[in-house]
Amino acid sequence: MLRVESVVMSFGGFKAVNGANLHVGAGEIVAVIGPNGAGKTTLFNLITGHLAPDSGRILFKGREIGGLSPHVICRKGITRSFQVVNIFSQLTVFENVQIAVLSRERKTYDIFSKVEGMAAEEVERTLRSVGLHDKRNVESVLLSHGDQKVLEIAVALSGKPELLILDEPTAGMAPEETETCIRLIRKLSDEFGLTILFCEHDMGLVFDIAQRVMVMVRGGTVVQGSCEEVRRNTEVQDAYLGGSA
């Protein structure tokens, strides 16, 4: 479904992503791991159009998407969450999800209808399924960090993506929140058959839910394979234990 081929992207002289390769098949859950500064977030930003690659190809369902605008890429079926919580903090939980639904339905240029109550059914359904329904009228800035992260996933989900990208979904979460989050990701994959690409520092979590793992070091792909293969790979061990860890 997604194919990243020897993509290079540099900030000034620093090559943040240097020849990364990645393949994600339909319905897979793929994790990207690597030490801090390995270029994981940059890679995600390249895929979702927040950055443009210097060279290399990014193919989604066989079409080149490198360098397109984020909103165009979203329309093609990729939505995401960010490492640092990125939601409409001044809107309510309900409104956060509502905007995402309206955007998907291309109703954002509608200046005649009353927005109140639009798409309510779907929004409530989504909120119920992520467990935020009872907080739907709370201004989202007032939510706990964990709830905000979950809300962001709900927002990303409301775009009905084919590929969902999660940048450190459990970063900064309390243990029990992490637990909930993992269950949520599983559920998404099982119930909706979503393809998920995520990166994470918590190795337990990675090996728990990922079907395949891609290891990035210094902007390049070190290895790609099943959890078992990656665990046994000596280069990975070097990178994490002997290298820059």
């Binding site: 979203c74 409409f88 001044q90 905007i99 954002t108 200046i111 409301s158």
Partner: protein
């Protein structure tokens, strides 16, 4: 709830309709100015309050709306209805052109580029004697008898302002309005859910410019004139002040703020020449102590202790 707000709206409208026979003509005139300035401030708020766009030079559209209407009436001799719509359309068109150039810049840069472009428009109007009348402005614009008298122009202004406010209220409460608030709140998130941020901003600018232009065409009806000073940058800042004073993040705030300032200005400048001192003091107090503006402040006190949105 809905019923009550409808009653309140009708009551206010009824009151405004009933005013002229009881007011001296001068106050009818001032009331018209209050209404159209309120419309101007509300239109600016659509861009700056809802869209978070640093629309620093909004009165350019006010001025172009006025000149568009006045020139159509004087030079082209167009029928009044055509002129009334030509001004706002010209303003919307200009807003589109300026928007295309400005929209990719953010915040302060956006504002400054807009001031620069707006000043170009101002200079052109100010200098182009043979067409715009230069610094003299245009006077004695001929109007149909129906709207030429003080009362006639008042009722016309009231009707157009009410309709425009209704339309803007509708837009603010539409999916587009909500999206705009989302963009103001978080443009990156907006893009990531598939919203074309630039285009929405552009649309907001055009709408704001159009209604700014409507206010300008109303000015021609009320004052039978148009002046280059209408679009000088200091006036733009004054309109910004009106929005801030009333409350930038509320729909009615700018209207309240502009009414307060216009009335204050008319009555205070009769007694003192230190209007700047008064305005400056009020403004700095508001910014320091009530950054949400008067209405925002009231609203806040009102809902203290409540769960938001319950």
């Amino acid at each position: 709830m809905k019923h009550r707000s409808l009653v309140a709206t009708l009551a206010v409208l009824g009151l405004l309709c009933a005013l002229p026979p009881f007011l001296p003509r001068f106050y009818v005139y001032i009331a018209s100015i209050v209404l159209l300035t309120g419309l101007l401030a509300t239109s600016l708020n659509l861009a700056i309050g809802y869209g978070g766009l640093y629309q620093f030079h909004h009165t350019v559209f006010y001025g172009v709306g006025a000149y568009g209407t006045a020139l159509m009436l004087t030079r082209a001799g167009a029928p009044a209805p055509v002129a009334m719509i030509a001004g706002p359309l010209a303003a919307a068109l200009l807003s589109l052109v300026m928007g295309v150039i400005c929209v990719r810049l953010s915040k302060l840069y956006f504002g400054m580029l807009q001031i620069s472009l707006g000043s170009l428009v101002w200079v052109t109007v100010y200098r182009w004697y043979s067409f715009t009348g230069g610094d003299d402005g245009i006077h004695g614009v001929p109007l149909p008898d129906l709207i030429a008298s003080a009362k006639g122009s008042y009722y016309y202004t009231l009707a157009v302002t009410a309709l425009s406010l209704l339309a803007m209220r509708r837009i603010a409460g539409s999916p587009f309005g909500k999206t705009l608030q989302g963009i103001r709140d978080n443009p990156v998130r907006s893009e990531a859910i598939g919203v074309d941020v630039k285009r929405h901003k552009l649309a907001a600018l055009v709408i704001a410019g159009f209604f700014g232009g409507v206010a300008g065409s109303l000015f021609v009806v009320v004052d039978t004139s148009a002046f280059p000073d209408m679009m000088f940058w200091t006036y733009s800042l004054e309109v910004l002040i009106m929005c801030l004073l009333g409350g930038m993040y509320t729909f009615w705030g700018p209207f309240v703020g502009s009414s307060t300032l216009v009335l204050l200005r008319v009555f205070v400048s009769v007694y003192t020449q230190y209007w700047g001192l008064i305005l400056g003091t009020i403004l700095s107090l508001v910014i320091i102590f009530l950054p949400d503006g008067m209405l925002g402040f009231f609203a806040r006190r009102f809902r203290k202790g409540e769960v938001r949105g319950a």
